[in-house]
């Protein structure tokens, strides 16, 4: 991977009042690369995603797109660049049906009027490729199960022609079959030459599809590893803090208790 990364974060920082959620974070995603972003709860993974997606503009640092510095201040900015995001909290409109949610903000039109037929057709095709069972593409999102909503949110990110797809814990609510489908999908995205950022707590999933693992710890980079040459223990050590792991922490606790 010698070409310039399609997306790169340079020294990005983000504060929420008293919380320093991100400090000097670096991240690179190349075309055709799957980067897994891992870290403990509250490490700042979702915050990082939201800065790229324009939900929370960055405080310091720079975002580079295909080698050029860009400013992402609003979700529209990220969309125009070609970033598609599946948020951890999904962000769907409960009162709209599946088709309307899939095409929200980028509706298909025919002579200036919404083209419901084409949208419905495309929605069915898309959902069929994801092998998800949904009662009907015309029922409100409110009547779907958590996993069905998650697949709708994932399908949503594939509409339009994104160059980078960000998936924030996309398989958290999914069953075995659907998880496998999503992992297949991630591989298909890579084959199509897209950059993918995948956030997951599941090491097996990460090792199955990712090329690179970037570790966040307490809002800072804590190592970037090529998956092939790295053991799971190394990654977990980086997630929990290189010098401390579950074993050392238990030891510390017993030592403390003994005092």
């Amino acid at each position: 991977m010698t070409s310039a990364p399609v997306l790169a974060l340079r020294g990005v920082s983000k504060r929420f009042g008293a919380v320093q959620a991100l400090t000097d974070v670096e991240l690179e995603v190349h075309a055709g690369e799957v980067v897994a972003l891992v870290g403990d709860n509250g490490a700042g993974k979702s915050t990082l995603v939201k800065t790229i997606a324009g939900v929370h503009p960055i405080d310091e640092g720079a975002i580079e797109w295909e080698g050029r510095e860009v400013h992402i201040n609003r979700p529209q900015d990220a969309q125009h660049l070609g970033v598609a995001t599946v948020y951890q909290d999904l962000a769907l409109c409960d009162n709209l049906d599946v088709v309307n949610n899939l095409f929200l903000g980028r509706e298909l039109r025919r002579r200036g009027v919404l083209d419901e037929v084409a949208m419905e057709q495309k929605s069915r095709e898309l959902l069929d490729t994801l092998s998800i069972r949904i009662p009907s593409v015309r029922i409100p999102i409110a009547s779907l199960s958590g996993g069905q909503r998650q697949v709708v949110a994932i399908a949503r990110s594939l509409i339009g022609e994104p160059k980078v797809v960000i998936l924030d814990e996309p398989t958290a609510a999914l069953g075995v079959e659907q998880t496998a489908q999503v992992l297949d999908l991630v591989e298909r995205l890579r084959e199509r030459g897209l950059g993918v950022i995948l956030i997951s707590h599941n090491m097996a999933d990460v090792r199955a599809v990712a090329d690179t693992v970037a570790v966040l710890r307490l809002g800072k980079n804590n190592g970037t590893f090529p998956v092939q040459e790295t053991t799971q223990e190394t990654i977990i050590a980086a997630i929990t803090g290189a010098t401390e792991n579950a074993v050392t922490r238990r030891a510390a606790r017993t030592a403390e208790a003994a005092k």
């Binding site: 997606a53 939900v55 609003r74 979700p75 529209q76 969309q79 995001t85 948020y87 999904l90 962000a91 769907l92 409109c93 409960d94 009162n95 709209l96 309307n100 929200l104 903000g105 980028r106 509706e107 039109r109 200036g112 009027v113 919404l114 037929v117 084409a118 419905e120 057709q121 069915r124 959902l127 069929d128 092998s131 998800i132 069972r133 949904i134 009662p135 009907s136 593409v137 015309r138 029922i139 409100p140 409110a142 009547s143 079959e177």
Partner: protein
């Protein structure tokens, strides 16, 4: 549905859940689906249509004169002005917000128009345009304060409710009332000018147009959907819907023809309803309004400019309020202090809610303004005929509004428990 079987054959796991109760084809399937919707709390227009029939039955039982020729005209006469306020409010309610200023804005608009056209002798058409633009600007200002500064809409428009009424009184000055000539646009909006000069064919032509355009557009859509392989409405359902519309439209034309015909202001109101319905359901702007009413954060992340939607919706509400104010002033032939009657505001909100637009946002249709106003003015006509005092009238209207809100809240609860909201 042929498409479902096709996908089932091609993919091992189909997109369609076999547990889902598929709608059977034909009329029977339509009826079953209808029953399921009702049980799921998706009441649609059912409560208001039933309510309307009950109201008519009760009043005509009490006094056979209720079905006299003039009642229809009376209903149409009072429906349009407040109905226009209500139509603008539907947009605001879809966002899950409220606009308390529409009554005051309508009074101010009438006064503004009267000052321009009567006191300053301005061309009435120019004065109308300025009035409507003024209404939209007032709405946009309120929307801007709400969207950009973050003051709750309730408070902003409450301030507007007081403030614009003050501006209206200041404009009207010491005289307090400016009489409007019964000519031109004022005559058109007064409820005393009739479609095709009140010719008996006028109402039937309109009814025929409505039914034919609905049937044709439904059939065209059915054909497009069928050829695209997505589920479509069965012909029996289209026939049933068109027949129901025909009963309503020709019935209304018949009733109005008993007296003097279809008032032109009612024709204008219906035309605006059709346009507003089209904008809300068929354009991406309308889709964005529903989206913001459903989930603000999701809309923002989908790239929708929430502030722009909010400001524009309040501008729409202000423009409809101004037009409604002109209609109300035209029916009384004067712009006066009563123009900003707070009752108009209450009636407009009540009409939208009675007609089935939710106070919680994201659910509703513009037709609720029409249906709700039909209910309200039918009750008013009846109470007026029975010679009941204002005290009783207010109590009854209060109960009707409360009933509508209770239905809204209950159906929302049922929808939640049956997974539809």
């Amino acid at each position: 549905m042929s498409n479902d079987t096709k996908t089932q054959a091609s993919a091992p796991t189909s997109a369609v859940d076999p547990r889902l109760l598929q709608r059977e084809s034909g009329l029977q399937g339509y009826l079953n689906e209808f029953k399921r919707k009702i049980r799921g709390g998706d009441l649609g227009s059912l409560p208001v249509v039933v309510g309307l029939l009950v109201i008519w039955a009760v009043f005509s039982f009490n006094d056979s004169k209720y079905f006299a020729a003039t009642t229809g005209t009376f209903v149409a006469y009072y429906m349009v002005g407040v109905g226009l306020l209500s139509l603008g409010l539907v947009f605001v309610l879809l966002l899950g917000e409220i606009d308390l200023s529409v009554g005051a804005v309508s009074g101010l608009a009438a006064a503004f128009f009267a000052v321009l056209s009567v006191n300053h002798g301005m061309n009435p058409w120019l004065a109308v345009v300025l009035t409507l633009v003024g209404g939209a600007l007032i709405g946009a200002l309120q929307g801007w304060i709400f969207a950009k500064i973050g003051v709750p809409a309730f408070v902003v428009t409450l301030a507007g409710f007081l403030g614009w009424q003050g501006v209206m009184l200041w404009l009207l000055g010491s005289t307090g009332t400016i009489n409007l000539p019964d000519s031109g646009l004022n005559h058109f909006l007064s409820g005393n000018s009739f479609f095709l000069g009140g010719d008996i064919s006028g109402g039937y032509i309109l009814a025929l147009l409505a039914v034919a355009s609905m049937a044709v557009s439904s059939l065209l859509e059915q054909r497009r959907r069928r050829s695209a392989g997505v589920p479509f409405r069965p012909t029996s359902e289209i026939v049933l819907r068109s027949a129901l519309l025909a009963v309503g439209a020709f019935g209304a034309a018949f009733v109005l023809n008993q007296d003097r015909g279809v008032p032109n202001d009612l024709v204008l109101f219906l035309a605006l309803l059709i346009i507003a319905d089209f904008v809300l359901r068929r354009t991406s702007y309308g889709r964005k309004i529903f989206a913001v009413g459903g989930n603000i954060e999701a809309s923002r992340r989908a790239g929708i400019s929430v502030s722009a939607i909010r400001i524009s919706v309040y501008a729409i509400s202000g423009a409809f309020a101004a037009l409604g104010g002109l209609a109300i002033a035209s029916t009384t032939s004067a712009a006066g202090q009563a123009g900003a009657d707070p009752n108009n505001l209450m009636m407009a909100i009540a009409a939208a809610v009675i007609g089935g637009t939710s106070l919680f946002g994201g659910r509703g249709r513009v037709w609720s303004a029409l249906l709700g106003m039909l209910v309200i003015s039918s009750i008013q006509a009846g109470l007026y005929m029975l010679g009941l005092n204002l005290d009783i009238q207010y109590m009854i209207m209060g109960v009707v509004l409360l009933a509508a809100v209770v239905v809204d809240s209950l159906s929302r609860r049922t929808q939640k428990s049956s997974g539809r909201a």
